[in-house]
């Protein structure tokens, strides 16, 4: 619960600070990354609840109809949590596949939801370029988050910060 609140606050602060300092960073879908890593480490229900809250926050900040990303990210969180044991390892390729599939699933769900209410978004060349940039940024950002959360990284940090006498 505490971790989820910190992550949601982190998403909110990231959005505001990036608007100020580096708008290009906003191409990174931090809500999706957080949902995926919650799903990889937590139960299905918790992952869906977190995805739901992160999606609602994203909807609120982006001006999209409330529930659009809430639904999509809740479902992404649930599915990733369901299949995480079969898919996940600390290997970069495995993480890239999970992030890529999650991005595509989230995109497809958002597009389908908008189409279902008669508001499809045209995927013209400029929009496709924009999506490629978002996918690239999200996968790269996700990899960095994955690296920071990985056990091997934590061990290395422990090793470096250990006093010389303790080695």
């Amino acid at each position: 619960m505490f971790k989820a609140i910190i992550a949601l606050l982190g998403i909110l602060i990231f959005q505001v600070l990036s608007s100020f300092w580096l708008p290009s960073l906003l191409h990174l879908d931090l809500a999706l990354i957080a949902t995926v890593y919650f799903a990889l480490r937590d139960a299905k229900l918790h992952a869906a609840l977190f995805g739901s809250a992160a999606g609602l926050l994203e909807d609120f900040l982006s001006g999209a109809p409330l529930g659009l990303n809430g639904f999509a990210k809740a479902l992404v969180g649930y599915l990733v949590a369901t299949f995480n044991r079969r898919l996940y390892s600390e290997a970069i390729a495995s993480q890239l596949i999970i992030l890529g599939l999650s991005f595509l699933l989230n995109l497809a769900l958002v597009w389908l939801l908008l189409s279902s209410v008669g508001r499809p978004v045209s995927l013209n060349p400029a929009a496709r370029t924009q999506l490629m940039i978002q996918a690239g940024a999200t996968m790269l950002g996700g990899l960095l988050v994955g690296l920071a959360l990985s056990e091997s990284f934590a061990n290395k940090v422990r090793e470096i910060t250990r006093r010389p006498g303790q080695r």
């Binding site: 909110l12 505001v16 900040l61 529930g67 659009l68």
Partner: protein, 279 residues
């Protein structure tokens, strides 16, 4: 087993809840005003505080960076020089901010409409909803469908406002559109956002002479943007079967915006529909 089923059932209920929320919001166009108003009112102060803290931290960080490289210099000279440089930097920043505000003020004076300046709190460049939240709202007369401008040209329109904040749909948003005129020929068309950094100009027949770099301004026919405001410049032209596909570069670099000008309008009667396209 029972616990697992209960968990799946709860997830299913959560998804149904989100779907119902989305269906209601999508049906209402700009969303349920009460719910959005409540959320924006709740988050508005937090957003303003974070933005103010960010501005403060930026100043502190710049000062820190500025000091860090000068440790080895003579202390007395350094202090004197530093003060002068900081003063100069502060003045340069003030000059830059002043220039931006002067441009806005000049634009405000040129406009034959009442307008109010506002600061951008949050910018969102996602494909499905390019938007920004500004620090002025109903208290300053900002209501939905007010046009939002910067010194360079059109920024977007207000989609929703609370007492102290407002949400702006940027002109590049996938569902945004505006009536425009080609400056060279006076031909009317409609530009639409693409969710990317470019705009698409539609409904220009192939016989109309269009040239690269030509300026495109608002026509005023959409009832939201007053006529004659710069929208962008033609970047690429592609041949289509009936109409041509014309790509525009927006006149305003939206992601670098800090301040905007909102053209005020008389508040509509409750229940009056929006004239512009909605997300």
């Amino acid at each position: 087993m029972l616990r697992k089923r209960r968990s799946d059932l709860l997830v299913f209920l959560l998804l149904v809840l989100q779907f119902v929320l989305f269906s209601t919001q999508a049906r209402l166009g700009s969303g349920d005003p009460a719910l959005k108003s409540w959320m924006l009112a709740l988050a508005g102060p937090a957003l303003k505080t974070t933005a103010a803290l960010a501005a403060g931290a930026e100043r502190l960080w710049r000062s820190y960076l500025y000091f860090a490289g000068l440790y080895r210099e003579n202390q007395a000279l350094k202090r004197e020089l530093e003060q002068l440089r900081l003063e100069s930097r502060r003045q340069a920043e003030m000059l830059e901010a002043g220039k931006r505000l002067a441009e806005l003020l000049e634009l405000k004076q040129q406009l034959p409409y009442p307008a109010v300046a506002a600061r951008i709190l949050v910018y969102n460049p996602s494909l499905f909803a390019r938007s920004a939240i500004i620090d002025k709202g109903r208290r300053d007369g900002i209501v939905p469908d007010c046009a939002v401008l910067a010194a360079g040209g059109v920024v977007g329109r207000v989609t929703f406002s609370t007492k102290d904040t407002a949400e702006v749909q940027l002109i590049t948003a996938a569902r945004a559109a505006a009536g425009v005129t080609l400056t060279a020929t006076g031909t009317h068309g409609v530009i639409s956002g693409t969710g990317s950094d470019l705009l698409l100009l539609n409904y220009v027949p192939p016989e109309v002479n269009v040239s690269m770099g030509e300026m495109v301004v608002t026509s005023g026919l959409d009832g939201i943007y007053p006529p004659g405001l710069v929208v962008g410049r033609i970047l690429a032209i592609k041949r289509g079967s009936i109409f041509r596909e014309i790509w525009l570069e927006p006149a305003v670099e939206l992601k670098k915006l800090r301040e905007v000008l909102v053209i005020l309008k008389e508040e509509k009667e409750p229940g009056a529909g929006s004239q512009g396209l909605e997300y």
